[in-house]
């Protein structure tokens, strides 16, 4: 509140909220002259007014989210310390028993490696190719509309069809891919889905193929948000396209890249239908992801154990989320 005789600071030296405060207090000052009683009861400070607005704006989203996650979350956490299977009652409290079991479970161990490499490599290349696609689709050329449509097709197809389709396409006898590599490059059978290591590459490739358009679309929207005059100024200063990307595009896109990468990492941890339908977990365990194990345990009604495995995923997600948040705050562009 201003004191009598204090010079009012120039408005443009204050930031948005300080200005707002000032205006608000002026309003309040005017009000108090006429309604001294009302001030204490009805008039809220501008800060609290905005808090209420914020709460009102957040209410639908938070309400929806709470409704569908609070109870399941609590229930899952509770289940993870029990061994509960409706077909083999009763439920028993086992403390960390499920987690010890997971530690010793050969399938869990075998799938951890591939889960991490699946998620890691997929996300990395999805962002990499996504950036390229975003630039491609942002450039002015005549068939841009059609190109955008084409590039979204992989992501717009149902996962079951894609997984099954690629299973056929990689088949050594019936598939187009071995056939084409044989015709065009003279390569003999690469044992695409038979060799454990090659199968991993194939599955990761299909995942990249399928989800890159999604990342590209988001990065495209982000690219649209970069003012073109920045590039104009840089061009006038004689920059070539490489440094323009490094100095302008990447820094300005960083928040979106970090957000998207973080979400892709988290989301792909829980996804298993691609490897499951394509290879059933692969030769041996080579293309088994942890989420598949959770799915099969859940189907066998081992709700306690499945919940415990789910909590392990939560832990991994927490780590990723924390890292992502820190990066996001760092790269915030003003």
């Amino acid at each position: 509140m201003l004191e009598v005789g204090q010079a009012r600071p120039a408005l443009d030296q204050l930031d948005f909220w300080q200005q707002a405060d000032l205006i608000g207090e002026n309003i309040l000052a005017t009000q108090t002259l006429y309604t001294p009683i009302r001030k204490s009861v009805f008039t809220l400070t501008l800060q609290r007014r905005f808090l209420l607005i914020a709460v009102a704006l957040l209410l639908p989203a938070i309400g929806l989210r709470l409704f569908t996650t609070v109870y399941p979350f609590i229930q899952t956490a509770a289940l993870s310390v029990q061994s509960y299977n409706p077909a083999f009652p009763p439920a028993k409290f086992v403390g960390i028993g499920n987690f010890v079991k997971a530690w010793n479970d050969p399938v869990v161990r075998a799938s951890l490696g591939f889960t991490l490499s699946f998620v890691g490599f997929s996300t990395f290349f999805q962002v990499f190719f996504g950036l390229i696609i975003a630039h491609l689709l942002n450039a002015q050329f005549r068939l841009r509309g059609i190109a955008r449509m084409i590039s979204l097709i992989p992501w717009a197809m149902p996962m079951v069809v894609v997984a099954l389709g690629f299973r056929w396409m990689f088949d050594d006898q019936f598939g187009m891919i071995p056939d084409l590599t044989r015709r065009l490059f003279g390569l003999n059978s690469m044992r695409w889905l038979i060799d454990p290591n090659v199968a991993q590459i194939a599955v990761i490739f299909v995942n990249i193929w399928k989800s890159t358009p999604f990342v590209g679309l988001l990065l495209l929207a982000g690219l649209q948000g970069i003012p073109s005059d920045l590039y104009e100024a840089a061009r006038v200063d004689g920059a070539n396209w490489r440094s323009m990307i490094a100095r302008i595009t990447l820094p300005m896109l960083m928040p979106i890249i970090v957000t998207t990468a973080m979400f892709m990492l988290v989301w792909q941890l829980a996804v298993f239908d691609l490897p499951f339908v394509m290879t059933g977990g692969g030769p041996g365990f080579s293309t088994t992801v942890l989420a598949q194990k959770i799915y099969l345990e859940s189907n066998s009604l081992n709700y306690g154990y499945a919940a415990a495995l789910g909590m392990i995923l939560v832990l991994i997600v927490l780590v990723i989320g924390a890292v992502g948040l820190a990066l996001f705050r760092r790269f915030e562009v003003e």
Binding site: L58, F67, M176, W209, L217
Partner: protein
Amino acid sequence: MATQLYPAARPARARRSTPDFGVWVRRYGSRIAAYSGFALFVFVVLLPFYFIFVSSITPKTELFQIPPRYFPSAPTLDNYQRLINGVPLGIFFRNSLVFALGSSSVSVIAGGLAAYALARIKFRGANIVYLALILSVALPQIALLVPMFQTFQTFKLVNTYHGLIVMMSSLLLPFTIITLVSFVKQVPDEIEEAAYIDGANTFQIIVRIMIPLVRPALFTMFLINFIISWNELLYPLVFAQRNDTKPLSVALTQLSSDASTYTRPWDLLSAMSVLMIIPVLLIILFGQRWIIAGLARGAVK
């Protein structure tokens, strides 16, 4: 001013917001490389879809050949015919449409409001809310099924459009909010300050200023959420139990032919997935202009 000293690199109307590939390419004469790169991109992207499309018009007995055929000798619409006769596609299509449109609308509206609040209003709980949103995505869907079913059953939401939309919007919200927050933060504060000083309130700011500026992001999120809902399988599989709410994605997994269990009929699957992708492509094609950044960039000045 700098622009008066140097001649324009190219005509003024060719304004682009990305580095000018064209100039670079021309300068180094590698246009062919660029175009062949583009051709490779189209090939890689489209080959699987080509396979699916061709499978859908191949007669069932000719589907799988050794070595594979790249085009059927006698293309036929028989697969589509059998699909339409065997399955009530119209009902499933309606269900999918209601489900996808509803989920994406609710998630974008609720998410957009929430994103504005989180991005612009500095209140004390903002970080907590943000973190909670991320954390809530942590548990895999399959692990949440049973308790969520119990919740929905209590509120009589099982097998209803309402229930499905509530569930799907909730699933889509975290990502929608966090992405829209990035986009809202891209918009400079000055515009809003100006509007606020001119006497606008929050509601007017959101509607008259933020939405037009963030419109490409809003539509992009709407499109993304629509596609995700359109193809979503696990939750509708469990919560849409009867034909009157079952969407196309679930019907896809219940296609059967050949009197055989444990196999999926590729002839019908490919036909159905071609049919399923058409609405999505139409939305993309006709919604093109909403993805393009508004000329409001200039409004900042």
